[in-house]
């Protein structure tokens, strides 16, 4: 069963990816290698996110991030079609305000915690292991939030769920890209053989 669903997803991914690349190519010819790489990756990411059809937070975040860049916006819109519901969640101003709010909340929270900890300095030894463990977990969830697209605005619980989904999709992406790259290599070699 897993094979069927994943192969369906893979097909959809490939389709969208190739379509995006075609659009890229028609928009601008003669890109240098770095630009090409960026476009390839961008198209792959967008294709991956669009296979989810807006059901997961990370896919929504990925696409709205891509749309923030003006030059990519055209590409994305073309790729996803006029029915694209992926409107950027907020305008830039709103995003800035949101970030400010989030940051000030964090500062407030942190100071409150620090105060509480100072008060609670009672039995530090017995709680030391717990404290260390908690800090570790906290640090790592922060890192994970940075890795998963759109992770900053998720609570810990949905973060894990999104990470799971993201991992599965990434696997598909890597798989498809790898087969394509290998096939390309083979083709190039045989091409040179034909010509020689």
């Amino acid at each position: 069963m897993k094979v069927h669903t994943s192969s369906k997803l893979r097909k959809e991914f490939i389709k969208k990816w190739v379509k995006g690349l075609q659009i890229c190519c028609s928009l601008k010819k003669n890109m240098d290698i770095l630009e090409r790489k960026k476009k390839i990756k961008l198209c792959a990411d967008i294709a991956l996110a669009s296979t989810k059809n807006e059901t997961t937070l990370w896919s929504i975040a990925l696409i709205s991030d891509a749309k923030k860049d003006d030059e990519n916006k055209i590409l994305v819109d073309n790729l996803l079609g006029p029915e694209s519901r992926f409107k950027p969640r907020m305008t830039n101003r709103q995003m800035i305000a949101c970030h400010k709010r989030v940051r000030s909340k964090k500062i407030l929270k942190k100071s409150r915690h620090v105060c509480q900890k100072m008060k609670k300095m009672g039995p530090p030894k017995s709680n030391l292991a717990a404290y260390i463990a908690k800090t570790l977990v906290k640090r790592r969830t922060q890192v994970l939030k940075r890795l998963v697209p759109g992770g900053e605005s998720m609570d810990e619980f949905s973060l894990i769920k999104e990470a799971l989904d993201y991992v599965l999709s990434l696997r598909i992406q890597v798989d498809v890209m790898r087969t394509l790259a290998n096939a390309n290599e083979v083709l190039n070699q045989s091409d040179s053989k034909i010509i020689d």
Binding site: Q22, I33, K37, Q116, F157, K161, M177, E185, D191, I194
Partner: protein, 332 residues
């Protein structure tokens, strides 16, 4: 690790995270659930009616082997929250450890739970000695405190949250390779982070590689071919050709490079027309999935099908080397 070890599903699960990668996950779950169920039926005769209702829901997780649960969101399957004896013991051991209850987190969770209230009303966790405690502020989750446990709403909510997280962690454990020995939350998170990072790096690397391999972004013959394959059923082909093309797609996607190699082999050794199509197509600058393609591809497919049985993996050592390399990366 002080953190509560992964308890088996005990929770008003809003969503079931099914990895879908391993059928064994479900088998394990089912086995676990059956075991639990047997235990309970022996112990909690009084709660029979509750369990009856819950048990009916149980086979659902086992039936789904795909991914669909991620899209289910809050109306996922209600995992019957079954009580385990070993859970009790663990709880008693950890009863002294109280996590700092962050009110904010609670409220966030409550909001979420309220949003998913449809499934939760059916959930109860059974108890040995019932304490008449209602669940926390939300009237949707009925969580009874177990014997010897703190009964205030905060810790109950905390416990529910913890158990949900540990349940998710378990699924992740099955998903991320090499995570079977790690049982702590921090270690698991570490592994997940490493895995996500390595996958992302692979994507970067592969896109760079593809960029080098393609002088122009008009992309490859095989992607063109793949695209053609997708469009072939839409074009007015006969049913047999469409089917064969469909099979081609599947085989291409699942077998990786071999069909392409086979095609190449034909192109090198086959009739004159076939190499021409390759050379011609490699010079294509524009996307022209036009009429000229169809006939050639049609021929290609026919030849492919006829000679598919005799495909020999082309340069197998090379590919395995590549795969091994990337597998190594994955296992890091």
């Amino acid at each position: 690790m002080q953190h509560c070890p992964y308890t088996t599903m005990n929770i008003p699960g809003n969503t079931v995270v099914t990895s879908g990668t391993d059928v064994s996950v479900f088998e394990r779950q089912q086995a676990r659930m059956k075991w639990q169920q047997q235990q309970q039926e022996g112990l909690f005769n009084g709660n029979d009616h509750q369990f009856r209702g819950l048990v009916e829901v149980k086979p659902d997780p086992g039936l789904q082997y795909g991914w669909p649960d991620f899209s289910d969101g809050c109306q996922g399957q209600a995992i019957p929250s079954l009580m385990e004896d070993h859970n009790l013991k663990k709880r008693k051991a950890h009863e002294d450890q109280k996590q700092k209850v962050v009110l904010k987190e609670n409220s966030v969770k409550e909001k979420k739970i309220k949003g998913c209230s449809e499934e939760n009303s059916a959930e109860t966790s059974s108890k040995e000695k019932p304490k008449a405690v209602e669940g926390p502020k939300q009237e949707y989750i009925h969580v009874r405190a177990r014997r010897g446990q703190a009964t205030d709403s905060h810790s109950l909510a905390e416990r529910v949250r913890r158990e949900k997280i540990s349940e998710r962690m378990k699924y992740l454990q099955d998903l991320v390779p090499g995570c079977n020995k790690i049982t702590g939350k921090a270690g698991m998170l570490d592994e997940i982070i490493n895995y996500v990072q390595s996958l992302q790096k692979q994507v970067e690397f592969l896109s760079m590689k593809l960029a080098t391999l393609q002088p122009r972004l008009d992309f490859d013959i095989d992607s063109l071919i793949m695209k053609e394959m997708f469009e072939v059923p839409a074009v007015a082909y006969s049913a047999e050709v469409a089917n064969s093309a469909y099979f081609q797609v599947n085989s291409l996607l699942e077998m990786g490079n071999n069909p392409i190699d086979a095609m190449l082999r034909r192109s090198i050794g086959g009739p004159v027309s076939i190499p021409e199509t390759f050379v011609v197509s490699s010079c294509f600058n524009q996307m022209q999935p036009g009429v000229t393609w169809d006939g050639d591809l049609h021929n290609l497919y026919r030849m492919e099908i006829q000679q598919e049985s005799s495909t020999i993996p082309f340069q197998p050592h090379k590919f395995t080397g590549l795969y091994e390399g990337s597998n190594l990366k994955m296992e890091l």
